[in-house]
């Protein structure tokens, strides 16, 4: 069994772990670091439930090896809340009822959070384009788009 020592920063905290080379990033986060907010959905690079930020960019963590994250920064849904205060994107999903079953929600929020970092005032089309790799089977996306718009407006009025 090929093992490797990796150093990864997750939600600002440094971790050093011994991992098998074939370990997927999503399994590393959920099973070794016990950060179970990141969901496993399709496990085939389609649904985006496992989306995390790798060096600030949203990626599908079921299709990244833990060893590929060596030396990098990972942010999961657990990293959104700061000092007991929800991130605007979490507040947006809460206020606009952006979820029903909640399975896609962590991935949706990570993708949307990254979008708003890059583009604080996205159009509806840009939001829909950004989340086109995240599947929701409940809401038809209408409330998800509203949630992102709510977050964008809140972030704008705060700054």
């Amino acid at each position: 069994m090929a093992m490797h020592r990796i150093r990864v920063k997750v939600n600002g905290a440094a971790h050093e772990s011994e991992v098998e080379s074939r370990l997927l990033l999503v399994h590393y986060l959920r099973e070794m670091l016990r950060l179970t907010g990141t969901h496993i959905g399709c496990d085939t690079t389609h649904c985006g439930a496992c989306t995390v930020l790798l060096d600030g960019r949203p990626v599908k963590s079921c299709t990244v090896l833990a060893v590929q994250a060596d030396g990098r920064d990972v942010m999961t849904v657990e990293g959104l809340e700061k000092d007991g205060k929800l991130d605007p994107i979490q507040e947006g999903f809460f206020q606009e009822h952006g979820l029903q079953c909640g399975y896609c929600t962590p991935g949706m929020m990570m993708t949307s959070h990254a979008l708003l970092q890059r583009n604080p005032n996205p159009s509806e089309g840009e939001i829909r384009q950004a989340i086109s790799g995240n599947l929701c089977r409940c809401t038809g996306y209408v409330n998800i788009v509203k949630s992102v718009q709510h977050a964008a407006a809140a972030a704008r009025s705060r700054s």
């Binding site: 074939r22 690079t45 990626v59 599908k60 090896l65 590929q68 384009q129």
Partner: protein, 290 residues
């Protein structure tokens, strides 16, 4: 799903990566973005004894114009290509292509070099690179060599790369004035492979006649397809309705698609025709600066 066990190597330089590939032999595979390779390993449709991750090798991510070429580093990410200023301004065919590969999350990991080196005729960049007349730079234990894109795709999932060679750069000639291109893809949903796709790159003369035409087709055979007869037919002609129609028909004749859940052979060939006509029209209007 968990891939079968493999060993993983993280070279810090290009020569170290090539050294590993030549030492490890055929059982080693290059890991770039991993967005095609990892799903194959997870589904156990493919296997590798060793993965050589080129993710830390410096200097493979640049996208820049230099010496008459647009040079795209082999590990440049699709999302970087999609958002590159020079690409959006002067190579809209590449921006068109990058924007329809898989989905935005996959494009944050997936690389342009990987899209070509995977040798999958369903991938989108091959058709575009055929239309643009690109050259691929391969670096291996014997040094660097250039491979014209026409000679790069040798079979289904097979390319001209030797097992110890890494696709380090793609070179695209800077298009002359009055050039334009477009890529048009029909997909059932975001993230799906193309039902059909057509890339067209045109350079027009002073009188609006075609000086150079490049046409490539996606998912239209065992390898990416260049529509050579259609390109030749367009030479010297003005792009009126009848000319576009005839060129699109010739391009569709070059398509030899396989039937699957995306459609029958007849449907896919017809879509290749329709999409080639659309790509030619869009390329022409971009070449005219419209």
């Amino acid at each position: 799903m968990i891939p079968a066990s493999f060993d993983y190597h993280q070279p810090k330089t290009l020569s170290e990566a090539i050294g590993l590939l030549s030492r490890l032999g055929e059982g080693a595979k290059v890991l770039s973005g991993g967005q095609s390779l990892l799903p194959l390993l997870k589904l156990r449709l493919g296997s590798a004894g060793h993965l050589v991750d080129i993710g830390r090798v410096p200097g493979l991510e640049d996208i820049r114009e230099e010496g008459g070429f647009l040079k795209i580093g082999g590990r440049a990410r699709e999302s970087d290509l999609e958002h590159s200023d020079v690409v959006r301004k002067k190579y809209p065919i590449l921006a068109d292509t990058a924007a329809v590969i898989a989905d935005p999350l996959v494009r944050n990991m997936a690389t342009v070099g990987g899209n070509l080196a995977h040798g999958d005729p369903a991938n989108d960049h091959p058709a575009t690179m055929l239309a643009l007349g690109a050259t691929v730079v391969a670096t291996g234990s014997k040094g660097e060599r250039t491979i014209p894109i026409d000679q790069f795709f040798t079979g289904l999932f097979e390319t001209a790369l030797a097992h110890d060679e890494i696709l380090t750069e793609i070179r695209i000639p800077v298009p002359p004035p009055k050039s334009g291109g477009a890529y048009v893809k029909l997909e059932r949903k975001v993230g799906d492979f193309a039902t059909a796709g057509a890339a067209a790159q045109l350079t027009l003369g002073a009188g609006g006649e075609v000086v150079r035409a490049g046409i490539g087709l996606t998912n239209a055979g065992m390898t990416p397809v260049r529509a050579a007869a259609a390109e030749k037919f367009l030479q010297g002609k003005k792009l009126d309705e009848a000319t576009v129609r005839q060129a699109a028909r010739l391009a569709a004749d070059a398509a030899d698609p396989s039937p699957d859940r995306r459609g029958s052979v007849e449907y896919k060939r017809e879509m290749a025709r329709v999409l080639t006509a659309r790509a030619l029209k869009r390329a022409a209007s971009r070449a005219q600066g419209a």
